[in-house]
């Protein structure tokens, strides 16, 4: 396959594909002459993944490189793999001591989460921002949201377990599925709000 065919299959311009090649986001093709290379189906899949992470997931070039490095040299254990997936996803870097509220929540739910998981700091920041905007999330509500998110995560993990062809593919689904399903959940939440408000009104 030539670069123009990759472009036709993915909708990404040849100029952008060359940029991905220069940045190391797309692996080089098989050279067929001094100026030409040939590409395979794996290149099409990689371009789709890079595009989704950059344009829809909002990851930086550096984040995407980190995800791709993990994909090319996958960790052996599944929990290590999820660690990679999460630390590669965009979000605030962990700062300062752990938030007592987040620690208490995890303890009361009995959730086992890596002490270094960036999602801890991310939750703490999001809770502070909601309080600053005049809509504080009480402990009771936070627990309600957490239980609902456990249901979301059960669907997520079923996804990874049933669709993955191998460990590398599991990482792909974990990372890309997490990023791409966020907007699905945002839309479902709004539809559900309308449905619940009508149920309450009778």
């Amino acid at each position: 396959m030539r670069l123009a065919e990759i472009s036709a299959a993915t909708g990404v311009s040849v100029a952008t594909l060359k940029y991905y090649l220069r940045e190391g986001l797309l692996m080089p093709g098989e050279p067929t002459s001094a100026t030409r290379s040939t590409y395979a189906a794996a290149h099409v899949e990689r371009v789709r993944l890079v595009r989704a992470m950059l344009e829809i997931g909002g990851l930086s070039i550096a984040d995407v490189k980190q995800v791709l490095a993990a994909l090319d040299d996958p960790p052996s254990s599944v929990s290590e793999l999820l660690g990679y997936a999460h630390s590669a996803l965009p979000g605030p870097a962990p700062t300062g001591p752990p938030s007592p509220r987040v620690e208490e929540l995890l303890t009361s739910l009995g959730w086992q989460v890596d002490p270094c998981s960036p999602a801890r700091a991310r939750l703490s920041t999001a809770l502070d921002a909601a309080a600053a905007a005049g809509v504080p999330v009480t402990d009771e509500r936070l627990l309600g949201y957490a239980r609902a998110c456990h249901g979301v995560a059960e669907v997520d993990l079923g996804y990874v377990a049933s669709d993955a062809r191998d460990t590398a593919d599991m990482l792909r689904i974990a990372v890309v599925g997490t990023v791409m399903v966020d907007p699905v959940l945002v839309a479902l939440r709004r539809l559900a709000q309308e449905a619940v408000s009508r149920e309450l009104l009778g």
Copy 2:
């Protein structure tokens, strides 16, 4: 209260407050002389709201103006109010005919949703994007996600019902709570994924 005090209370610079005043995002104060005005606690609350919607919610100035217009002249019914809240929130405008998949989902769940709700188009776009990125959401998973989001919406609506002082405040909580709780849910989903993966591994 003078503008400098509003600035100290909210962390928003005086220059930015003057910009909010010019744009009509902040209502004028009570004039005390030709060049001075005095401001009240309602101004502090409004500044916090505007800042949260602009900076954290990512709404455009036009979106924020639409929300504020609804706040200043609140609709009388709660369902009309939720319609305002949702149409004011950022997301893709409804385009083309309704997506058969979204219609089937709403029917199978028995959810009553306004045919013009922008969340329908938003869901359809998000599902197409996930499929294009190589992580298609099957019907079974979509149903699982929808059920979990119903749990989220129940917490959301409890929030609006218990904390709102009046109809205008209900709108404030519906809009700001929806926008500001999204990042809380994103963080909780990642923590839950880690917890569920450890539960599955035993």
